[in-house]
């Protein structure tokens, strides 16, 4: 069973660095949802002033829930955005688990970034990153 249905990674200029999703009929719909949710990400990171303390965490939490799935977001300090879509029916998935998934993603991304053969801004083609995401997607909980 898949935990994560769809996982995207965007560069600071909002074009995709990495796209991965469970092959299905509605793949396109997920991509569409993820791109729409970027607006919410943008909104969350641009709020200045009030409620600063909680806004300063890298993990953004639930971006928006729909009937069948939930969209979560994470933004690194370098403004690289990670968006994950999970199935709503999977109620065993807690906020903390999502958070640690993002942390893992971020750690892997840092390794990619520190690879001297990788050009910042290029699509991610690292096998290590690939296999980490694959492992995360099917992790049975």
């Amino acid at each position: 069973m898949y935990v994560i249905i769809c996982m995207h990674c965007f560069c600071p200029q909002n074009y995709p660095l990495y796209i991965r999703s469970v092959p299905s009929q509605s793949e396109l719909k997920f991509h569409y949802t993820v791109h729409t949710s970027l607006d919410v990400v943008e909104e969350k990171i641009s709020t200045v002033g009030k409620a600063m303390a909680e806004q300063r965490e890298l993990y953004l939490g639930l971006l928006y829930p729909t009937e069948d799935y939930k969209v979560y977001g994470y933004v690194t300090n370098s403004k690289v955005k990670f968006v994950i879509v999970v199935d709503s029916s999977n109620t065993s998935l807690r906020d903390n688990e999502i958070r640690s998934m993002f942390r893992k993603l971020h750690n892997s991304f840092t390794d990619v970034m520190c690879n001297p053969f990788y050009n910042p801004g290029d699509p991610i083609q690292s096998k290590a990153f690939d296999s980490m995401v694959s492992a995360m997607m099917v992790q049975s909980s």
Binding site: V48, R56, N77, M113, P120
Partner: protein
């Protein structure tokens, strides 16, 4: 202590190498920009690693403070001694005992070699800032040997 020395030796060798690769008579402008570009890429990677567990930055000044404190401590084992700004996008970072110049003779003798030893660091700062979303131009100046100033000009978009 050993790792400090390693970085310094490597840095010296990189300068030697780049200098000899850009053979002889051409002025060392190309050498400096090559070192600067190396620093840029390294800075990008380093910042990605260092900011992994820090909270999001409030503003530009917050980012500069991070560079002066955490970033500098990680790379040079000390903080910047003085940070000044005109609040209009110019920051001056002063290091009174810059580690990469520390082994050079303190007199005026090697003053004209100093730019080579600062180029990498300029790139490091520029790369770090750019990865944090701040476009800038970084220049360095030395008046008395182990002390140096980095001027960061933020480019508004």
């Amino acid at each position: 202590m050993a790792d400090e020395a390693l970085f310094q030796f490597l840095h010296n060798e990189v300068i030697q190498y780049v200098n000899s690769a850009e053979s002889g008579d051409t002025e060392n402008g190309r050498c400096v920009s090559k070192l600067e570009n190396m620093g840029f890429r390294v800075g990008q990677g380093l910042v990605e690693r260092f900011t992994k567990d820090t909270a999001r930055f409030k503003d530009e000044l917050d980012v500069m403070k991070f560079i002066c404190k955490d970033f500098w401590t990680c790379v040079f084992k000390k903080q910047i001694d003085n940070l000044r700004t005109n609040h209009q996008g110019i920051y001056v970072l002063q290091d009174n005992k810059f580690r990469l110049l520390n082994q050079l003779s303190a007199g005026k003798q090697y003053l004209d070699h100093a730019p080579k030893y600062l180029a990498f660091t300029c790139g490091l700062v520029r790369g770090g800032l750019s990865n944090l979303g701040v476009k800038s131009i970084v220049t360095a100046e030395v008046s008395v040997m182990p002390a140096c100033k980095f001027q960061v000009m933020i480019q508004k978009m």
